[in-house]
């Protein structure tokens, strides 16, 4: 993903050299000035909303109510973060989010690898149309199918349990299946041939030979699925009661006074604490994450 720096970079490095006489050099320099100004401005614009959320979380209520906007807090209210932690059972909700995300990400990664292996290395009549359905199902509007699924889960008594996430995990996710399929299809044929001659079943071949080879995809898939689940708002909002719900739901709806008015600064602080783990996971796992995104996005 990174690098592949093209040789035209020489045009860029030329700006460092002092050459005030030749006109093209000056033009290149001005161009680069414009380029960097645009880049910095755009980056500021993109980071701005999140920066403002952090600032909001560091103000006191009076500053938030002040009429010409109070740009910076007079006294940085670090304790807002601790207060946000204590006003609601933040850790309890975070634990619920974590449990659901771990259950889902683990199961869906394994099931998608399993299904991806089938599509990559095995043949059977009906494979082509099935693969077509798999690709098509990536484009199914999930929110539309979620609403009737919710009614069915309610009928089966699975509301307020984590069973829906277990089932979704076992059912494999088309995006991740495709990710694994692409990876497994690229491995050499000899890998399983020797094992087949030795009489190994395909499950053994998958478990012993293919899975250990696929750490990069496994971790990418796990991170992607984890962030899906951590970020999901509507499914836990529908399926779980307030106490058993996830951090996403709690941050959105529980930061209110007894009178029902939102506690804006604490909510902002809480949402920062809710978002930051995902940003950190992304920054740590950046390469695999982005490669995964690119693979599924390209098809």
């Amino acid at each position: 993903m990174t690098a592949t720096s093209v040789p035209t970079a020489s045009a860029g490095s030329a700006t460092g050299v002092t050459s005030s006489h030749s006109a093209p050099r000056v033009r290149i320099r001005v161009n680069r000035l414009v380029l960097y100004t645009v880049l910095v401005a755009l980056t500021g614009l993109f980071i701005g909303p999140f920066g403002w959320l952090v600032l909001t979380g560091l103000k006191n209520p009076a500053e938030l109510a002040a009429s010409p906007v109070h740009w910076l807090p007079d006294h940085v209210q670090w304790h807002n973060f601790a207060d946000a932690f204590n006003l609601i059972d933040f850790l309890g909700y975070a634990r619920n989010s974590l449990i659901i995300a771990l259950i889902y990400a683990t199961l869906v990664t394994l099931s998608s690898a399993w299904v991806g292996f089938g599509f990559a290395r095995l043949e059977a009549p009906g494979k082509k149309p099935l693969f077509g359905i798999l690709l098509g199902s990536m484009m199914l509007p999930q929110l539309i199918t979620l609403l009737p699924t919710y009614l069915i889960f309610a009928k089966l008594g699975m509301v307020d349990t984590y069973w829906p996430w277990v089932l979704w995990g076992l059912a494999a996710a088309p995006y991740l299946v495709f990710l694994f399929r692409q990876f497994f299809a690229g491995l050499p044929q000899e890998l399983e041939e020797a094992a087949i001659v030795d009489g190994c079943g395909y499950a053994t071949i998958f478990w012993r030979i293919f899975l250990p080879q696929s750490w990069p995809v496994l971790s990418a898939s796990f991170v992607i699925a984890f962030t899906w689940s951590w970020g999901d708002y509507i499914a836990p909002q529908l399926l779980l009661s307030t106490d058993r719900s996830t951090l996403a739901v709690a941050v959105m709806s529980t930061y209110v006074t007894t009178a029902g008015t939102p506690v804006t600064n604490l909510q902002a602080a809480a949402s920062v604490m809710y978002v930051v783990p995902i940003l950190l996971i992304f920054l740590i796992a950046q390469r695999g994450f982005v490669a995964g995104m690119a693979t599924t996005g390209l098809k």
Binding site: T2, T4, S5, V6, G12, L35, Y36, L39, T43, I47, G48, P49, F50, W52, T56, K59, L64, H70, W71, S111, W114, V115, G118, F119, L122, E123, A124, K127, L130, L134, P141, I144, T145, L147, P148, I152, L167, Q182, V197, G201, Y202, A203, W207, I234, Q237, A248, V251, M252, S253, S271, Y274, V275, L279, F282, L283, V290, M293, A294, G297, K299
Partner: protein, 333 residues
């Protein structure tokens, strides 16, 4: 090793010794090898096939059945009404209004996101210093979960404490009620554009796949930078852009962001939506959760589902002559 056990059970009759199975596998005639492969294929793909049937096909069929009834989850006297719900939704002005708004939202947010994402990709694909840092920072908002996006934009566009009104008053303009009518739609649009880094990253991967010879050839032929972009880069990126258009339309049709921008983000909050953000899906939510009209709401869902299929089909149809596949996607990896 449960997976192995499952496959062993599926592969040979119960009780067959492992040893004999092994011997047979080696001298088995070709046909049974093939049969084994076929069985294995279905064994491996079955979690997805079963999951797809139970968690997608069955719920959608259930919704179709409900859409012909007055089911509300409480009243035991619900009954079959045929196409009654469908004829009701056709005469409900909110259906048409919200559908029009949703269409407008998709028709603006998707092209703008793609233009923004593509523009950013071209910008950070240039040889610049700290390229990785710029890419990361521009992409980062795309990882922020919806709840974070909603709260960030509510803070940014708050009537009193929002930075947007701060800037307006700084330049002598009046503060605006951004989160109310008629401005809420622009906040919604901006919240979607904030994630343009997503398209940037995907386009960037595509840009790096563009063979360099093509750019060099264009330069030798004396093509301008814009001409090269239009005639070389964009056609080569067209499969990526098509995919982004389709997924973008589907995502914008079912976005819950209007809900997250209300003071109370719960499904009960649909009643507090400003008119300009009352999209079709919000109409469905209102009927589903605020009123519990599952039958009627299911009819609304099915109409949307069919419309999405039609629109997706039309997009593929109208772009089939325009999209250029450089490599066979099957043979690519």
């Amino acid at each position: 090793m449960t997976a192995d056990q499952i496959s062993s059970v599926a592969r040979r009759p119960a009780g067959a010794a492992r040893k004999t199975g092994r011997v047979r596998a080696a001298d088995r005639p070709r046909t049974s090898m093939t049969a084994r492969r076929h069985r294995a294929f279905y064994l491996f793909t079955s979690p997805w096939i079963i999951g797809f049937l139970l968690l997608t096909v069955v719920p959608m069929a259930y919704a179709l059945w409900l859409s012909f009834t007055t089911y509300d989850g409480i009243s035991p006297n619900w009954r079959y009404v045929g196409l009654g719900n469908y004829s009701e939704l056709l005469t409900d002005s909110r259906t048409w209004d919200s559908l029009g708004r949703t269409g407008l939202f998709a028709a603006t947010s998707v092209p703008l996101s793609i233009i923004a994402g593509l523009g950013l990709a071209v910008l950070v694909n240039r040889p610049i210093k700290a390229r990785g840092l710029f890419r990361t920072l521009l992409y980062l908002p795309a990882v922020v979960p919806p709840v974070g996006v909603g709260l960030a934009f509510k803070a940014l566009f708050d009537q009193n404490s929002g930075a947007a009104n701060g800037v307006l008053t700084l330049f002598g303009f009046d503060a605006l009620g951004w989160l109310a009518d008629p401005y809420a739609r622009y906040v919604l649009l901006m919240s979607v554009l904030w994630a343009a880094g997503n398209i940037m990253i995907i386009s960037l991967a595509g840009l790096q796949d563009v063979p360099r010879e093509l750019h060099e050839a264009a330069r030798i032929d004396g093509a301008s930078a814009w001409r090269t972009f239009r005639s070389v880069t964009v056609p080569l990126l067209s499969p990526v852009l098509l995919f982004q258009t389709v997924t973008g339309v589907i995502a914008s049709v079912q976005t819950i962001m209007p809900l997250l921008l209300t003071p109370d983000g719960t499904t009960a909050g649909v009643t507090a939506l400003p008119q300009s953000n009352y999209l079709y899906m919000m109409h469905v939510f209102g009927q589903y959760f605020a009123l519990g009209r599952y039958g009627y709401a299911s009819a609304l869902l099915w109409v949307l589902f069919v419309l999405i299929l039609i629109v997706t089909g039309l997009i593929f149809r109208f772009t089939s002559g325009v999209v250029f596949y450089n490599v066979d996607p099957e043979a690519k990896k």
